[in-house]
Symmetry: C2
Subunit: 768 residues, 2 copies
């Protein structure tokens, strides 16, 4: 009887196991889901009922087959939202997840979607398709996680939209720790990686494959046909740290970073587009380290980055480099690429620092130049001639140049028969796509160049070959990004434009009520008068607060407890304060950040305002991060200290604000420093902090500043202090600048106010 | 007309280009050869006429095809000898070399056979077959060359016999410098690597694949079915320094070294035999460093080595190791191996040296233990129980033990459920081959273990699987090494035994005449009397010189110039001096080496002899190397200094003698040190120097020794000083011993003679 039953069950399973008429099991809650997974057989579909699934930890396991996977899907794609404290772990074979929408929450583990459940239950041949992860970020930006971890082999992330990770950790990590995970041939395809905000420090990659400990492993991950849009997390959009990966036909659209071959060898970067911006020196291209990479058919447009962020940054290595530092570049081929309107796109021996052997240990000195490298059949074209298309930080003696053309004169030190100035002409196909009017046919045939069979648009090179990334003819459609081809089919990242609202207020109560009910984008206009505020005004959306009449400014008087702040910036807070007189009672702060849950960056803009009688002008707590702080045409006076952006003091490369602009303003009677902006920890690959301090007047400040420095910028990479007037400030140093980063004061007038000091090399704590 | 001629030539070439009826072109001299090569077309055979080809530098180039290679061969295999200052360089496609015999000479370049002519003319799909290279060694052992260099791809060394390299440099080097040479799939098959003598220092490998600079390259060289016999050059028989190489079914017969996975990852070592010797602790097995290796089906017999030389030495790595040091062992699988009568065959964390962080820089400290390593289905069997089969120099916490069996109790610190003591029985098939009487069937099925399909003898594991290297049944023939299967078919390495000759002499003239005409192995007997010798007796063969009557010893009085020697040792000199009284005139040496052309090691044995009135007892020059020096029952007196083996002072790991035995002898009135034996330069992977100083009496020595040390052994690894009597020696230290190497004096009697000092850690100059 039992055998018969068993036989019957097997028969049942078998007959339902086919996909065409496979079981579809709809589940409405976690218990049903758990049970359905437990009983799932090949070919079955488990359907999550539409609605909000809150605080769920899904372990999706089972054994599907190639022809009959087990599917876990939304009833309607996009209508099943996974919210709260939730995650999904996948382990087994041929499992597919479709149509889920992760939002309004974060993971309780270290992953949102994980291609393994534990070390024994690993995903192989599994797929996540048509899903969205939006802003599913930890409440504390320093709590690290990865949204998607790849383990096992042959797994795929396809047609997903991923955006808004602002906490520590690469968005996607491919793990190679163990033989089960190498030679993985994972597919990361057709995804749309939406904006990842600036993180302020390291660990903000969008994709990392391997790590330095497993960088010897063959990975064979394929990253193809994805759109990376404004992935600004850190200097590396993609951090390649293993062997044999391929990056093909991706578009990097206005991303502040580069595709970095950080560790690992023999990768292919073919047919990608790097599209930059006129206004940004942060958008980069490809940074090359290590051996045997093939960089072909890539199109670089308007990349203005330099050094680490240049269109093509070829680094110097450390001789016999430790595993986690910089191996020498050898046997790298860069062929058939086009650099259009890029600024000094080729930079060699980037990171060379032989002059610093006094201050750095030997294993930090990058003195090993590129060797056996080939640059061939590339085009550099600039509408406004760039006479220095090449920059070299060391001798260029290990690079073979063959048949490279540029349209400008080459006045750089690197000259070679293989670098020719020629009459080139380009035809504009779109805002960023220019194609040659004729193919430049005289191509160099290097070792195995016969394998470079197609151009950036997958057109064959067999019949009409030519230099650069593009062979003719080109279809006009190539000049536009078809967003529909990327990400989840049901999701659009286009936001509906709403007419900004304005609320007019005339009293404290009206002000607090308006702030509470305001939607993001609202302007609150204050009538002239005094607004006495006793509790902090919390800013966690986009709000403008201004006086109705700029000639009759409203006064906000804050009388809250000491150490609280008039304006309290929360995550995503974006405050513009305009034409206001803001007064404190000496013990409070004008602005401060929340101490917790600063999961995303805030912005603060102050214009035509007067701030006085506070302890601190801005008190930024640890873990908070401002994208941009700007203070213009503002008077700040009678405060104990100025802006404090120095609480990230673990010396791990984190810092409290990306951009700080202080212009046309006046500081008067600030007892301590007027700005303390700090970034600690040495790792040259993380770069950050930007200060513009310009056209200001600083009078009678710094009397009680113990450090003896008026404007503290330790570790901040980009600092401009110019055209200011310093008068009667009782201080030793106005600022101590970092010579190595070319910092120097410009056109300041100094009277009775200490001096600028330039330190060439900054002693910093190693981060690794 | 011209076109017609061209057509005709093409037709001719084409019709002769087939191999079946291809052109055979016999050449008699270099001009003809050069011309033949120049004109050779696919399918042609160039035949070197039998005889001696002296001082030839052959560049063999051309374009053969797969079906129609161009062949360069001996008229009769083995009857064409390439002698003098000669070499062969090969560049092109499908070129084959057959039947050549390199001897009586050396290369003027850095290779004897080279698979590339220059950086542009590289061999691909070329083959060297049925050739011999014998003693084709440089005159100076410190002049470096490689006998065979592999470049390009798909080249093969097959059925060759290679022996006698005693100069610096691996016998075979596979070069990976450049993309043209990676993924090479070279075949090194069916060769016989005959004895390579001890070199005394590094760079004595028989095979090296890659180097640390190119260790990231995928090589895919296949080393299969070779016989390595007494390849004693250095501690590494094979130095793997690249990725994806395979070592299959080779026999390592009594080789003083190991197959070392020095750099590079993901290699396969499958089905090899390591056969050791009762009397040697120098013969090793496999030393493991780096990631992802698969070590399966190997049979280890009688391996007595320890630490670096143990049957299975798994090293500790340097955390974040520099490229040329020691990467951590990770993801290594050791499965289905048999360790038979090996002494403590498994040694983990070899090289751990955390205790030396005071004396060594951080990048020398090997503290990273093996991780994610699997040891499964292995057998350890000892006829005499080894209760300590496992030795660990650090915690063993990263190794998974599964289904390993041993027949002895395991009293070592490493205990695990996966290490079981069981009743195992072995059946003797031959001197070194023991097979299990029954298969131990309970095997562990690890990740991808299903790919381990065969045993050491290529028997299938599909039907009858079992633990260890061998599954039953085993053919009896497997217990013998069939030398015919290896090396050149026409060459035998067996030497014909000749009855040793004895020549009796009674005068100086007779003695010098006898020495001149003696063949190797001859004994010269001296009648009682005084032999006054004015010129050095040159020893460049195997010679015994002794008194006819040991009770009436002959006296040899040497009256040559100061700084010359009574006996002058040349390369391959092998002197036994027995029952002789040897006297000098104070300014000469009793023994010295030649200053030049010490291309091969010498041996010196002194028995029952009295040596007096010399400057130096033995003066070994730089570049000379003694395999064994032994002094027994001998009196040495009234000399300025004793044995000087300290001229290799470049601190590059070289030294002047491998074994020095001084036993049952007496030193009296030696004014300076009695022995100066030196090895300089730190690289723990090179190990060397052996001293036994036992049962001697040392009286009134050392008075004028400036170093204050009587027996100087700086840098020598194995030192035993025991059971000696030291009396009235005016010296501070008898010897300074090296504590780290477990050196300590034993049972010596010391009276009025200074003391022993033990220095735990020796400060040495880094070699890299």
């Amino acid at each position: 009887m039992r055998n018969l039953l068993f036989f019957g069950v097997v028969f049942l399973l078998f007959s339902f196991g086919k996909k065409e008429n496979g079981n579809i099991i709809k589940v409405n809650n976690q218990e049903e889901l758990k049970s359905a997974i437990k009983n799932a057989v090949a070919g079955e579909e488990i359907v999550l009922a539409n609605g909000v699934w809150k605080d769920v930890q899904i372990k999706f396991y089972g054994k599907g087959t190639k022809g009959a996977p087990i599917v876990l899907r939304a009833e309607t794609a996009g209508k099943v939202t996974i919210e709260g404290v939730s995650d999904l772990k996948i382990g087994g074979t041929y499992l597919e997840v479709r149509g889920l929408y992760f939002k309004n929450g974060y993971t309780p583990s270290n992953t949102v979607i994980d291609f393994h459940i534990d070390s024994k239950t690993i995903a192989n041949n599994c797929k996540v398709y048509d899903c969205v992860i939006e802003d599913f970020t930890q409440l504390n930006r320093n709590k690290e996680d990865h949204w998607i971890e790849f383990w096992g082999r042959h797994n795929q992330l396809d047609h997903c939209y991923i955006t808004g990770k602002s906490n520590s950790g690469p968005t996607i990590l491919v793990a190679l720790k163990g033989n089960e995970h190498i030679n993985n041939y994972h597919q990361i395809t057709n995804n749309h990686f939406g904006p990842r905000p600036r993180k302020g420090g390291p660990h903000g990659e969008t994709l990392q494959i391997g790590d330095s400990n497993t960088s010897m492993a063959p990975s064979y991950t394929n990253v193809a046909n994805n759109l990376f849009e404004r992935c600004d997390g850190e200097v590396e959009i993609i951090s390649n740290k293993s062997n044999n990966n391929e990056y093909r036909n991706n578009i990097f659209y206005k991303c502040e970073g580069s595709l970095v071959l950080r560790h690992g060898n023999y990768c292919t970067i073919d047919g990608n587009m790097f599209i930059g911006d006129d206004n940004s020196e942060f958008m980069g291209g490809i940074r090359v380290i290590n051996t045997g990479h093939l960089i072909t058919n890539n199109y670089f447009y308007n990349i203005k980055g330099k050094e680490f962020r240049s269109a093509l940054a070829v680094m110097n290595g450390v001789p016999k480099s430790p595993q986690n530092r910089y191996n020498q570049v050898t046997d790298v081929v860069v062929a058939y690429n086009t650099f259009l309107d890029c600024k000094t796109p080729w930079q060699f021996s980037v990171g060379a620092n032989m002059d610093k052997s006094d201050v750095l240990p030997a294993q930090e000195i990058r003195s090993a130049r590129p060797e056996r490298m080939i640059m061939a059949n590339n085009i550099i074209f600039n509408h406004v001639a760039d006479e220095f298309p090449i920059k070299a930080y060391d001798k260029v003696d290990g690079v073979l140049f063959k048949n490279n053309s540029m349209n400008g004169a080459n006045k750089s030190e690197v000259k070679d028969d293989g670098l020719k100035t020629e009459n080139l002409a380009m035809f504009k196909l779109s805002e960023w796509l220019y194609v040659p009017t004729v193919d430049q046919k005289e191509v160099y045939a290097g070792f195995e160049f016969e394998n470079i069979k197609q151009d950036v648009f997958s057109n064959s090179r067999a019949t009409t070959n030519g230099m650069g990334a593009i062979v003719l003819p080109v279809d006009k459609s190539k000049g536009a990004i078809n967003k529909k081809a990327y990400g989840a089919h049901w999701f659009s990242d286009e936001t509906v434009y709403e007419t900004p609202k304005t609320i007019r207020v005339a009293s404290e109560n009206e002000l607090t009520a308006a702030l509470a009910k305001a939607t993001s984008g609202t302007t609150i206009e204050l009538k002239k008068g005094i607004y006495r505020i006793a509790a902090s005004l919390i800013i966690d959306k986009k709000i403008t607060i201004k006086s109705k009449d700029q000639k009759n400014r409203a006064t906000v008087e804050y009388s809250g407890k000491d150490n609280t702040s008039a304006f309290l910036m929360g995550a995503k807070g974006n405050l513009t304060l305009e034409n206001i007189v803001l007064k404190g009672g000496n013990g409070q702060h004008a602005f401060a950040t929340k101490e917790k849950e600063m999961f995303s960056a805030y912005n603060l803009k102050v214009k035509n305002t007067e701030i006085s009688d506070f302890d601190c002008v801005l008190n930024a707590y640890k873990d908070s991060f401002a994208d941009t702080i700007s203070i213009d045409n503002t008077v700040i006076k009678k405060c104990k200290r100025g802006l404090k952006l120095a609480d990230e003091n673990d010396d791990l490369g984190e810092y409290n604000a990306e951009f700080v602009y202080i212009r046309n303003s006046k500081f008067e009677n600030i007892q301590n420093n007027i700005l303390d902006y700090y970034r600690g920890g040495y790792d040259e690959s993380t770069i950050g902090g930007n200060l513009v301090f310009q056209n200001n007047t600083v009078v009678n400040c710094g009397k009680e500043e113990k450090s003896g420095v008026l404007i503290k910028t330790t570790g901040i990479v980009n600092v401009e202090i110019s055209k200011n007037s310093f008068l009667n400030n009782t201080i030793k140093f106005i600022a101590i600048l970092w010579g190595e980063k070319n910092q120097e004061p410009k056109e300041n007038s100094i009277k009775n106010s200490g001096e600028f000091k330039i330190e060439q090399n900054l002693k910093q704590k190693m981060m690794y």
